[in-house]
Symmetry: C2
Subunit: 117 residues, 2 copies
DNA sequence: GGCTTATATCCATGTCGGTCGATCTGCAGT
DNA sequence: ACTGCAGATCGACCGACATGGATATAAGCC
């Protein structure tokens, strides 16, 4: 787990020259780092990344039954990955009768994208 | 592991209406998804994300001895995280005498940033 | 009601990841 | 050579995660 970043205290150096120029300052506090890392971790699997890619490129909601044949994994595994993405706040789902439709939550990746610059 | 995405085959639906409009097409192939997910996974830890944030904001190379006091973790743990970032191709290090200096590899995050849009 | 289909949940298993203490490697200074 | 320090590696522990088979839930069709 991370902690709130603060300026590095001056420590005695063995020799004359310091190890590096001045200090290092942080811009991202612990909570924001946790939120950003949560999104990154959810995207840290090739299948989930491809899922998000497909959902983003496709305007509107996509039925799970369209997603299953795209990957070489069992259906419960795909459902598991979709749940991970839902828990990370990246996608959401909507049931219509037998089928479930998934879509990327608008702005879900904006914070991460702006951090990347 | 993911597979190459292809168009969803037409499957028989139980009732008349199809489950969703046409089909879904992919833009990211398996190899690119693997590369992007590797970067995302490396950023999927709050400490590593803060590390990258500090290194990016600081022009030039940063000594490890400046990084250690920023976090509430043991030194081997920080070294482990830095190694993860190095293995992911995000940062690199350079030794000068006793000290090691880390820096973000130029363009290491460009592909990921452009995927995010 | 009974059958089929779509999706989610449960469960077991094997692997991966974060953490830290101990230890090792280099380097610098005496 | 000896001592001290910075950083990396090793080993172990433990919890998290990916995977898939079996099962549950839920809705349409006959």
């Amino acid at each position: 787990m991370s902690v709130d970043l603060q300026l590095a205290p001056k420590k005695k150096r063995p020799a004359g020259e310091p190890c590096c120029e001045p200090v290092v300052y942080p811009d991202v506090d612990r909570d924001r780092a946790l939120r950003l890392a949560t999104v990154a971790k959810a995207l840290g699997d090739p299948i989930r990344l491809q899922l998000v890619d497909v959902l983003r490129k496709h305007a509107g909601k996509v039925c799970v039954c369209e997603l299953v044949p795209l990957f070489d994994i069992a259906q419960p595994t795909l459902s598991h990955h979709l749940k991970k993405l839902r828990d990370a706040g990246i996608v959401d789902s909507e049931r219509q009768g037998l089928w479930a439709y998934y879509y990327v939550l608008p702005g879900a990746l904006d914070d991460f994208a702006s951090w990347l610059g």
